[in-house]
């Protein structure tokens, strides 16, 4: 039986194994490869996406779990002709080193700002603690979130 959901605003129907994690579904079937695999056990946050506006680990969220829901990946974050303020801040402050974790970092930060447009340092640390950066870009991630928040999220 087909599973219906919305990905980045588009209706998608799939007859894949309902147990397929959204991580592999979006990457392998939809070619949306911005969402990354790092651990597969909810430890690293590289696979962070939004389901109905909430940041979740797509390695732990199955196709079945997302039936009828609204999924957003990094590819769907930018506006029509403008990047999200976080994406712009990430570029301007040159946050990335290898860059592999950054899509997940941005998705976690976007969920934070949607909820809390002017987060405190503590709020930022709390919201971002689930996202690992092996390269150690945490100081610039903090700064970029603050810069984007200053720009109105």
């Amino acid at each position: 039986m087909a599973i219906n959901l919305k990905i980045n605003g588009k209706r998608v129907s799939s007859s894949s194994d309902p147990e397929t994690p959204l991580l592999w579904f979006v990457r392998d079937e939809l070619n949306l490869v911005g969402t990354k695999f790092g651990c597969g056990i909810a430890q690293c946050g590289a696979c962070t996406i939004h389901v109905d506006g909430v940041a979740v680990r797509s390695c732990q969220t199955t196709l079945e779990d997302a039936e009828g829901l609204d999924v957003k990946t990094i590819e769907g974050l930018a506006g029509k002709d403008r990047l999200h303020a976080l994406q712009q801040a990430w570029i301007d402050l040159d946050v990335a080193q290898c860059g592999y974790c950054q899509a997940g970092q941005i998705m976690s930060a976007a969920a934070l700002l949607a909820d809390n447009p002017s987060p405190s340092d503590q709020d930022i640390d709390d919201a971002m603690a689930g996202n690992l950066c092996r390269c150690g870009t945490y100081p610039r991630i903090r700064a970029a979130i603050k810069q984007a928040a200053g720009m109105g999220g």
Partner: protein, 727 residues
Amino acid sequence: MIDTNISRRAFLGTSGALVVAVSFTACKPKGAGPVTETQVTSTPMNAHVEIGSDGFVTLFAQHPEIGQGVKTSLPMIVAEELDVPWEKVRVRQSEIDPKYGFQFAGGSLSVPMLWQPLREAGATARAMLVSAAAEKLGVEQSQCKTENGFVISGSKRLPYSELAEAAALLPVPDKAELKFKDSQDFKILGRRITGVDNEALVTGRPLFGIDQQFEGLHYGAYTKCPSVGGIVKSANLDEIKAMPGITDAFALDAKGEVDALKPGVAIVGTSTFAVLKAKNALKIDWDLSNASTFNWEEFLERSKSAALKDGGTSLFSDGDVKTAFNSADKTVEHVYAYPFLAHAPLEPQNCTAKVDGDKVEIWAPTQMPTQAVQMVAENFGFKPENIVLNQTRCGGGFGRRLFNDFVAEAVAISQKAGVPVKVQWTREDDMANDYYRPGAVHGCAAALDASGKITGWKVNFHTLSKDGETPGRSPNAYMDNEFPRHLVDHYSVNETVTKMAIPTGWWRAPISNGFAFVYGSFLHEIAHETGQDYVELVLSLYGDDQIIPGPQGSEINTARAKGVIREVAKRSNWGKKLPKGRAQGLAYYYSHSGYIGEVVELEVSADKAVKVHKVDVVADVGPIVNMSGAENQCAGSVIDGLSTMMNLQVNIQNGQIIEGNFDTYPLMRMPSTPEIDVHFIQSNNPPTGLGEPALPPLAPAVCNAIFSATGERVRELPLSKSGFRFA
């Protein structure tokens, strides 16, 4: 798409390649408005520079981007000497081709090795453009200058784009005649230039090895023996093949040499999830008769108890160490140890290969692309000209991707399965099949005279290697001018090597990452136990300004060493009064041609929770190429150093790696991140790399601060072994 293919003879310095004018569609990022098609003609000037008819130049980044920033910093060097504005530069990852020499990312060597050749590439193209302009205008070359992508002569301004075709046909000037910019006139170098892939990264466009997707691609998983050296006896292949989405499953036989294929079972299917699910259902009967039985804790305890006793083979023996110790006024002795480490780059190993008869195309996130091509030619019998290797961005390197075992797997699996395959490792595969930073034990002894001068230095080094004999291959080999050789008259190192089959490799700042902890801590202990000021002791050890000889590129200039120590002390307000439980720690180390001093300020609670407040870094690596990248590398090295020393270790029991994922190999997270201040002492010394040297001093700086804050000396890493944790 190539619309013109003009075969003209060109005098290209490095390759003698043909000039090919290509046209391509200028791509706009997704979501950034409609894509407009523009026909652009591009004229290659040399292996690094192509000049487009649209006023943009394309520069080719030749080495792999692993997060160290070379895809941005190397083209900056070319652009500077070419004299074009950075805004008019497009960067493309180059192909793998002998014209670029040996392409790799390691040893923080990209900048020092390529600084001069890339300046030459830019200056050569610029000189040829000037020649072409002089000819066109009928003036002398000396009447022309360049500025921002134009040749200017009097009131005439000719854009490079109008000169490129003629310039490319001119003779290549002699290197000796090239003129380089004075560093005063740099417009790009030293600036804060943001990464060329930034927009693609933040919008999720495909860049990495794992991102390769194309029609007909299959997905693969490969399971190796949990005990290093085990081979496959049998497996439930029929059961696996019957699972949904699985198209093939087979065992591969192999010797398991470094960089070659290890024995294991391959599963091929139509989605990553299908093959990972089948991997979980895989049952393999292993033949363990030749598997490793190494136990780390056993080695550790044995080595610790032997470390202060005589033994081992002499590596160095300068002066008369025995007499120095016999006649010493005071001696200090301590034993230090550090564990095995995994690289754990965030992108697990993966590789895509498409074998088609006697040809193969590969997409590999590797630090050693040239070596990968050589390995595939040697091990699989492809002619080098039939191997195309596309270098992808790497989701972290840290030395792990200096080995191409994952490339061998993808080629072997695609060849056997007869389909293109992306082989994807799980995190658990990655942890269990690394080339680990080997752990080691150092027994250290120092002899001091009545004035407190260090007169003798003796080390017993307990290490591991594959054959028990040749640690020269090992990433823990002693260097000729390892600290404090040549600074202390009577100096000796003895080495005891234990045989072990666990593969080891280079982990960010190899050798230095462990040695700095040992020597930086030991010096602090010497100062404390002999009642001397620690910073004064270190400075006096370096003595007068001098060059300590070493293998090429590793001579140590003691004036630069003392310079960073003094500067970091000043910037951190070293010695300032702090409340109880809070203290500073300072360490200095020279590695990868970089001079780095660090001061850590931290606080330790009664129950051993460590809050690192601030880290000051002062680095002298010559002139800075990209200020943004340079600061990022230093801050990242500090965080890597802190993350590693607090909680990370790889335990090996009976030849098996115990840690499997980030739950048991807990990298540091944002809340533990200190404020980090990075300062560069810039000089006209040749520029050197920054991917590694800021990591080694962090561990001793932290341990020294913990001692000053609590009185507890840590002599074994990680800190968690002594009950410390992040606050």
